[in-house]
Subunit: 320 residues, 2 copies
């Protein structure tokens, strides 16, 4: 582990800097990379961003106006990547063992780089990039601000999650002060649903069943529903959060049929229920609020087994 000051000093001395994002790139890894790349280019340095996966159209504005560069990197920087396994291919093969600097906020970061700065208290890696740019005395203009805001708002569910700190809000204040358009970013990230997502939501609500005095709600996603709606992976974003959103529901359960059979179970729980304790009984795991496991059985059996597990948990913690 190095200090953020040391990270800033390292970058100040570097040129031809390649910035890497994690697979299934989200707003935080892309926003961090785009902001850092813009800042470095602003100071006359050569910088570029790479990701093993394609960047979705939703995030393309982050890179609008960034000069595309190709060069043999002198410094490789990984942003928001907790482990080498998240580089994906080809980036893992190319750079997995030669990362000069890693900037991240995941507590699970495996410190695979020559220099590591990890701050698990940061709500997003974009918070770290914000501080880093300040230390490097690179001005945060409107475009950099839009990139950093994107990472912060997506990693906090638009300031909804428990990772938000007073510092998160203060950074947001400084960012919107540049004149960037936060409402448009938030609408794009949170209030825009694809047709396939809407179709899927519709069908999923129809499968909803309630158990244990309506404290448990269960939905099902079948391969047939996925086929018929044409839903891709990101069209399913947020679906498993739906059952727990129903008033009075303590545990929301999503049973998702796997392509080769069997079911992937996602549990979302309200405090004081610990979803990971329930999933652990089935060889799964996760956090208190969100956990999962897999059951290689039929839909009826999967439902019966997970409901039995939940019933046992609720019985044991009769207070809840």
């Amino acid at each position: 582990m190095i200090s953020l000051n040391e990270a800033a000093e390292f970058l100040k001395k570097s040129d031809h800097i390649l910035i890497l994002c994690h697979v299934f790139p989200d707003g935080d890894t892309l926003g961090s990379a785009a902001a850092l790349c813009r800042g470095l280019q602003q100071t006359g340095r050569h910088a570029a961003v790479r990701c093993s996966d394609k960047i979705g159209p939703k995030y393309r504005y982050l890179f609008e106006g960034v000069a595309p560069e190709t060069f043999e990197p002198e410094a490789v920087v990984a942003v928001d990547i907790a482990d080498v396994s998240l580089f994906g291919e080809p980036l893992r093969a190319l750079y997995g063992d030669r990362v000069d600097l890693c900037l991240d906020h995941h507590p699970s970061n495996s410190c695979y780089a020559k220099r590591c700065f990890v701050d698990p208290k940061a709500a997003a890696t974009c918070e770290i990039i914000f501080r880093l740019l300040r230390l490097m005395e690179i001005p945060v203009d409107r475009q950099i601000a839009a990139c950093l805001y994107t990472g912060i708002t997506t990693d906090t569910g638009c300031f909804k999650y428990t990772n938000v700190t007073p510092f998160t809000y203060r950074i947001a204040a400084d960012l919107v002060e540049t004149g960037m358009d936060a409402p448009t970013i938030n609408r794009k990230m949170f209030d825009t649903k694809s047709r396939a997502h809407v179709e899927m939501e519709c069908r999923v609500w129809d499968t909803m069943e309630y158990f244990y005095s309506d404290r448990v709600a269960v939905i099902v996603i079948t391969q047939r529903m996925i086929r018929e709606t044409g839903a891709r992976e990101d069209d399913l974003d947020g679906i498993s959060a739906l059952p727990r959103q129903v008033e009075g529901v303590l545990i929301g359960v999503t049973l998702r049929e796997k392509p080769a059979g069997g079911y992937k179970i996602s549990l979302r729980a309200q405090k004081p229920v610990n979803a990971s304790e329930i999933c652990a009984k089935f060889g799964g795991g996760g956090h208190a609020g969100a956990a999962g496991c897999t059951l290689a059985v039929s839909l009826e059996e999967a439902k019966e087994q997970i409901l039995a597990g939940i019933g046992a948990y609720l019985n044991k913690h009769a207070a809840t």
Copy 2:
């Protein structure tokens, strides 16, 4: 209009202060009232909150631990009430012509009180109360902070709307610094749906139709759907925002059957479309992003008329 300093001076000299909320009370009017009442009681003054409507269970935490008081008011304060017509009965009859101080952020405020402080730049009246308490040197504790945060987050759609300013975020930072539980408030306000709401959402998605190359999406809410789902008014919250959320949709239209027949039309539009311009053709009005009108005709005719109006608008502004 008075200054906020003058408002603070007036309150410092007052006792037995009655604080009034508007009808259909929302997070901002209730959060403002509860925060002010708590602050005044903290300084040893008699204060109470009244609303013509019942306060929903969702907002009861705002008043937890507030000492209930009954007294003949010496000072009457209206918070977040733009006009006397929004007092409802019995408060309008009792206090409509004797409001000593009005604190509000609605630009349409009719300045009906003896002293008026209106700041249209404030995202929520709770921002004004925050500044007022500072001026009065009343400390914002965790409970007051929870009240103020509630008003700010509900009036900004959890920091999503265009009314959010850098100051909004900075206040939020100060509020969460007191140790209040913002994630729980946000979950309650934004991620909790009643069973009736879920039922209604389901049925409404089934009515969705697309027009004009999918740039316009239309949903219908009938009296029958309301009857069958048992939905009350607040179960319908957010429903009319659904069609515009679909990717690529510029104008979302909700046709809601009125109990005595005819349809209430709500339009939600993305920039650069101006919904109020379309609704004005039908004798309605509103804002660029959200507007409405009423058509006393059958469902088919209502749909045809509003779609014709939208078509004419889209033709005229061919650029969009």
